[in-house]
């Protein structure tokens, strides 16, 4: 279609920029680029291929994200992109950008701790409250409102908050 005049690298850049505007439907302050869900954009024989990876195996947002990417690309003149889901390497919260972590905190969600701590069988984690910054916090439930979040409570300011689980 209209993309014929672009070189492959220009087309790739345009596609990346458009795909990177797509936000997580559950956490709309984070783009899929901030999250590390957007893995790769490539051009093969003039056709754009976008690779995304799920945060959790059963993440129900993947269908929505795929659709949103297709729509975002269509708006910049790329109507026939191939959006694929890849599993390897497995997504980790360590891929989340520093900007993404700051955005999460400002949104009221405690950003994930480094993934190295996740193996402790019983929680020795110190999560800072996104409202007041205190680390005098406790877990209410390992599983929160979405697959990627746990429910915590701050014992200083008494506010409950979501914690983006390290993964």
């Amino acid at each position: 279609m209209v993309t014929l005049a672009l070189t492959d690298s220009e087309l790739r850049q345009r596609a990346w920029d458009a795909a990177a505007t797509v936000v997580d439907p559950e956490i709309p302050v984070l783009s899929i680029a901030d999250l590390g869900v957007l893995r790769e954009v490539s051009v093969k024989d003039g056709r754009v291929e976008v690779a995304i990876t799920p945060t959790y195996s059963g993440c129900p947002a993947m269908t929505m994200i795929t659709l949103e990417i297709e729509l975002a690309l269509e708006r910049v003149g790329i109507p026939d992109a191939d959006v694929r889901t890849v599993l390897a390497p497995a997504w980790t919260t360590d891929w989340m950008s520093e900007e993404g972590r700051q955005k999460l905190k400002a949104y009221g969600i405690a950003p994930p701790l480094p993934a190295s701590g996740r193996r402790a069988l019983f929680g020795a984690q110190k999560v800072a409250c996104p409202q007041c910054g205190s680390v005098d916090t406790e877990v209410l439930s390992e599983f929160g409102s979405t697959s990627c979040k746990a429910l915590w409570r701050c014992k200083s300011c008494r506010e409950p908050f979501d914690y983006f689980k390290c993964h």
């Binding site: 799920p54 959790y56 195996s57 059963g58 439930s141 390992e142 599983f143």
Partner: protein, 258 residues
């Protein structure tokens, strides 16, 4: 469109993926039965979250099994069009939810196995299985921690919660031996570095379970007799009822999509 029940083949790699897919689907379905019924809101969400993780794992495993099988099946056909004798899940996982203690003991017994199983499978020479393992391993670590904490709370809680937790352990114990089995076909995959020997995880499983039960002031049964059959398609009476609910829509309206 097809409504007739499908029969599975005997390719070892297909069966290896299918067994794990069936485990994840059946346990995920059982946990989803708690949705709206859990003892508290947080736990309702937790059980639904774990079910969702398991359903995601099942979908990847079924898709891969269907690809390996190469007979035109897909994740939906494998899940919805097999009768119980064609299912290969562990008997433990199809057992009814019972009370909350029974659900949590079942979860602990399985998660204490699934967690090291997936961690070991990350080294599979099969790249798809290794990729699925790498995702599942992260999820199972949470499932194990969640169920461990609950067993400790129940066992070391009130007299009533202790009694129920102990009863659940006695009831489900005989279903734990099956996790460590591998048939001749799977032995070939183990030798080829594609699968791992489940028996090699027995010691680790025992040590996790012992640690949790001790902390919980609960007692591990000593009865060595173990129930078998699920891996060969011989199930308890409960699986048929579960499948009747799980498969109803596709059986009543073959090929339905929405």
């Amino acid at each position: 469109m097809a409504s007739a029940s499908i029969q599975i083949g005997d390719d070892p790699l297909f069966l290896c993926a299918l067994r794990r897919a069936d485990d994840a689907l059946i346990l995920g379905h059982r946990l989803s039965e708690w949705c709206g019924h859990a003892p508290m809101l947080e736990e309702d969400m937790a059980l639904a979250n774990i079910a969702l993780d398991l359903l995601g794992q099942a979908r990847e495993l079924y898709s891969y099994a269907a690809k390996v099988e190469g007979r035109g099946n897909d994740e939906d056909r494998l899940a919805y069009l097999r009768d119980e004798r064609q299912y290969r899940n562990l008997l433990l996982l199809e057992q009814p939810n019972g009370d909350f203690a029974r659900t949590m003991v079942r979860q602990l017994f399985y998660s204490a196995f699934a967690d090291p199983y997936w961690r070991a499978m990350m080294n599979s020479s099969d790249p798809t299985l290794a990729a699925i393992a790498a995702k599942s391993e992260k999820e199972s670590a949470y499932h194990l921690r969640h169920s461990s904490e609950w067993i400790i709370r129940l066992g070391d809680g009130t007299a009533e919660s202790h009694r129920r937790a102990q009863e659940a352990i006695e009831h489900l114990w005989a279903f734990t031996g099956e996790m460590f089995e591998a048939d001749a076909g799977e032995r070939g995959l183990i030798d080829a570095g594609i699968a791992i020997d489940p028996a090699s995880l027995r010691e680790q499983w025992q040590s996790t379970v012992s640690a949790v039960l001790t902390e919980a002031t609960l007692t591990q049964p000593t009865n060595p007799w173990m129930q078998q059959g699920g891996r060969g398609g011989r199930h308890s009476e409960h699986l048929g009822h579960l499948l009747a609910e799980l498969q109803y829509t596709q059986r009543a309206f073959p090929g339905l999509t929405w």
